[in-house]
Symmetry: C2
Subunit: 208 residues, 2 copies
């Protein structure tokens, strides 16, 4: 059984306030990540920047959660998957994806991948595409209150995906008991670059 | 054709010196990412940390490469895939993986995944496992001077992978013309959690 944390007395307003505090911090760290990869400044400037970064880290670590963020819930049911590696608003390594869930098991997202997501020069790392497709297909396959985990995913690369503005979409094709089947793709402005199909499974401990 | 940058006059010593300048910076940003996800400090402390981060970013952006890092080479052939999303020593979003390449198409890696790689509470995001397997299998399938790109990868999740210390390994099963087939897995201390098989393709423009 996974540990979903319900935070007593945290109203929807409190959740919105927390988001307003932490989301800009995460955005600043994302900018820093990009600058760290692309910088060409001299050694002494790097040292000065590093000292400021270490100071910021010490401030933030003055009070911190043990382990990882987990998935927290407010008292009114607000879900906070804020540490998530793909969609987490508090995870600077997430692009993050903002996923639009449509009726009938369809999920779509428009997102931007910069220097942090590179594999082949100027292009998205194949593994990053797989990571994003896993999440978007999983979102298509999920309904509120019904947890699903990836059983298998097959990813097919038609061609290299350029860094920049991209689109992902996924849809459920059918369900069979505790299994949900979904397909999807990533596309750039000229068409599909990567396709995937996956099976998602509702874990035994989540079945009601 | 991909843009591999050869840096004229950059000796092996120069490459080592650059690495010594930038690798500690990247390490500091990785610590900051972890602290950003886990912090519970008050709003005013977050604001103070954010100001330092923004200052560090401005310093680093005073001189920076356009676009992404790419894959650069020194004059003596040293490869610098330093911006890579899985192994890049200048990419704070990479764990990073240090991959040991053994003869006969085998690749292994021991690595640590913390809060930044979370999906289900306390566990590795399924997409992150796929990303890592794509890279480790690809490394097994590659030889110096022979570039390969992922054609397809199939990933099967046996059970959830806990955050923490993990091991990955991959090996080539066979080759068929310009296609190389590889299998591999991720394991925690009690055994295999995720398996993969993939086909890698030597692109037409890289065939000699």
């Amino acid at each position: 059984m996974l540990d979903y944390t319900h935070v007593d007395g945290l109203s929807a307003d409190d959740v919105a306030r927390l988001r307003a505090v932490y989301e800009p911090l995460t955005g600043s760290v994302r900018e820093l990540i990009d600058a760290t990869i692309r910088t060409e400044v001299d050694e002494d400037v790097v040292a000065a920047a590093k000292a400021e970064i270490d100071s910021a880290t010490a401030r933030l670590r003055a009070a911190q959660k043990d382990g990882s963020f987990g998935i927290q819930f407010g008292a009114e049911g607000d879900s906070m998957p804020w540490g998530n590696a793909v969609i987490g608003v508090r995870n600077p390594t997430a692009p993050p994806l903002l996923i639009h869930k449509e009726p009938e098991g369809v999920a779509t997202s428009d997102f931007y991948l910069g220097a942090a997501f590179e594999g082949p020069p100027g292009h998205v790392h194949g593994g990053v595409s797989a990571k994003i497709l896993d999440h978007v297909l999983g979102d298509a396959a999920s309904r509120p209150g019904v947890q699903r985990l990836t059983g298998t995913i097959n990813v097919r690369y038609r061609r290299l995906t350029p860094l920049g503005r991209l689109h992902a979409e996924a849809r459920v094709t059918h369900t069979d008991g505790f299994k949900t089947y979904a397909v999807g793709h990533i596309a750039d402005k000229t068409g599909i670059t990567v396709e995937a199909e996956a099976v998602f499974i509702e874990p035994k401990w989540a079945r009601s």
